[in-house]
């Protein structure tokens, strides 16, 4: 457990010391939300609500996803810079490495989402204590899920460029088709099927339930929670699987 905490703490310290990454992570979701909600204000009212309100929850999901991408990219950097092999030859179980990295990335995502939540009044999103607590729980679960996925993919990659390519190929469509940016209930049948199997759909849906109550076209809260829990469990299992396979590619 000490090793997990050490790896988790290192992720936080490195993030806070990396000023450009810190600045970008804080400002990027605000800029995205401001641009999209400003541009579509008045012309697009999904579910009858203002687009700024609708996209607010989408931005929270985007924060967890983007933070997971940038946090887990450090797996590749750690391997290239030699730090990872130092950890691999320590008596720490490999599962602890996965846990430390995933918890670190998820904590960063959750922390940034909390900061963004402070802007809720600006977006016209009214929050109660109960809603915030429930929303934070869902955000934590979603952050663990996407960071677990990012970790598993990063562990299998040799280059940060390749990792970015895979992220853009899989994770961006997952976010776009989750209902984070626009409602999906009237999408093409093929996309509707994709939405059904897209685990982000359930994470974003659970966030909408938590912060906005019932929203038309979103699966029920219990379905969304089951989907998100399964998503988190599956990605953690995947991360554990890849990290436990010793191979020559683990080393520089």
């Amino acid at each position: 457990m000490r090793a997990v905490l050490a790896l988790w703490h290192r992720e936080i310290v490195r993030f806070l010391r990396d000023r450009p990454r810190l600045t970008g992570s804080l400002l990027q979701p605000i800029v995205f939300w401001a641009l999209f909600s400003g541009a579509l204000h008045g012309s697009f009212k999904p579910g009858g609500m203002d687009y700024g309100q609708y996209f607010f929850v989408g931005t929270l999901a985007m924060i967890t996803l983007f933070t997971a991408i940038f946090a887990t990219i450090t797996v590749i950097e750690d391997r290239k810079e030699g730090f990872l092999q130092g950890v691999l030859v320590s008596p720490v179980p490999r599962l602890a490495i996965a846990l430390g990295k995933i918890l670190g990335g998820a904590s960063l995502g959750l922390g940034l989402a909390v900061i963004f939540l402070l802007l809720a009044p600006l977006a016209g999103v009214s929050l109660s204590f109960d809603r915030v607590m429930l929303g934070l729980g869902v955000l934590a679960l979603l952050a663990l899920a996407v960071t677990g996925l990012g970790f598993a993919l990063a562990w299998l990659m040799d280059s940060t460029a390749g990792y970015h390519g895979i992220m853009m190929l899989f994770l961006m469509p997952m976010l776009l088709l989750s209902g984070a940016f626009f409602p999906m209930e009237s999408a093409h049948p093929v996309l509707a099927w994709v939405r059904f199997v897209n685990p982000m759909t359930y994470g974003v849906g659970a966030l909408r339930h938590a912060f906005q109550g019932e929203v038309p076209g979103v699966p029920s809260f219990s379905v969304c929670m089951i989907g998100t829990v399964l998503f988190a469990a599956a990605t953690f299992a995947l991360g554990a699987l890849v990290v436990n396979r010793r191979s020559v590619r683990d080393v520089v």
Partner: protein, 325 residues
């Protein structure tokens, strides 16, 4: 680096290690023993298999064939127990440049199970031994290569390991920094050190040396003994027509010369006596002539028929890196 203590048991016993990256064999039936407290060097050019051997011994990659006992533990079955008594320093730095010296040591200590006052005491001891106390708050990225290496060695010694593995750890260090590195390691005379190197002078300091070439152990023993095996002197002649000169030397003086590129090499107890005779008979064809005591370079050349050439650090083959083993 020697430890002349009580009768030694083996810290490492390896038998029949064979390892392949796909079709390419990196290690071929490698066997050796290292007594506890010894500093054992692995010398070989790029592609000789020493880095692969290091990765196996450091438990980074699993054994494919052969048996290895380290500190009385089976490498194939007890790798985690081995790791708890092992210190490893890699050729590429394994410290975090964005953290301070103390933070690196702290995280390193937590990963090997140290904590609280024990960890703080060990960090202080290591900082003192490495003469790093005044740099403890500096970011590692701001340190020189030699100081960074001292941090690495300190991190490796935090848990008081019984066995330390160094993979080309002195590469890029100046002689003073290399001396610092070894003095830190020599503080504990019971520590067993296995190190890979391509530096002849560093290898010559080992208690025991294994010469590797293309995955095979081509020679092993004390460096001085290995050099003695070559003979008392080595005479080296450079000639444009080295290949045709060799049989003429055999015919004229009854000596066997080895041709390596455009060089002829003759070793033996009294080869200096040949110098005036060769100059008189073949002076016009010989471009350069040198006489010296044998070095490890000569040992390698005698055993393999090739010069010891280092071009770049050992690297895994591109395809091999992707292969599961």
């Amino acid at each position: 680096m020697s430890y002349n203590g009580a009768p030694m048991s083996n810290a490492v016993t390896a038998a029949g290690i064979t390892f392949a990256y796909g079709e390419r064999r990196a290690l071929n039936d490698v066997s050796f023993e290292v007594a506890a407290g010894q500093a054992c060097g692995f010398l070989g050019p790029n592609g000789s298999g020493k880095s692969t051997l290091f990765k196996l011994l450091s438990t980074l990659v699993p054994l494919q064939q052969g048996r290895v006992s380290m500190l009385g533990l089976d490498l194939a079955k007890e790798s985690r127990a081995i790791r708890s008594r092992l210190g490893v320093v890699f050729q590429s730095p394994a410290v975090d440049k964005k953290l301070t010296v103390r933070e690196n040591l702290r995280y390193g200590g937590l990963l090997i199970g140290l904590s609280g006052a024990d960890l703080a005491a060990r960090i202080d001891a290591v900082l003192a031994a490495g003469r790093l106390a005044d740099r403890a708050r500096d970011l590692v990225g701001e340190l020189s290569g030699g100081l960074r290496r001292r941090v690495e060695i300190g991190k490796c010694l935090l848990g008081k390991p019984d066995l330390v593995l160094l993979d080309e750890a002195s590469t890029g260090l100046d002689p003073a920094a290399r001396k610092d590195m070894w003095s830190m390691l020599r503080e504990d005379p019971k520590l067993t050190v296995l190190f890979t190197t391509h530096l002849m002078d560093e290898a010559a300091e080992a208690d025991r040396l294994l010469l590797l070439d293309q995955g095979h152990v081509v020679a092993s023993g004390r460096p001085a003994e290995l050099m003695r095996e070559v003979g008392g002197q080595v005479l080296e002649l450079e000639a444009a027509d080295a290949a045709s000169l060799a049989p003429e030397l055999q015919q004229q003086f009854g000596v066997a010369a080895t041709v390596v590129d455009s060089t002829l090499r003759i070793d033996g107890a009294n080869v200096h006596e040949l110098v005036p005779r060769i100059v008189q008979r073949f002076g016009a064809r010989v471009q350069r002539l040198s006489l010296a005591h044998p070095s490890l370079q000569d040992v390698f050349l005698k055993k393999t028929g090739k010069r010891f050439v280092v071009t770049e650090p050992d690297a895994l083959p591109a395809k091999g890196r992707r292969r599961k083993s």
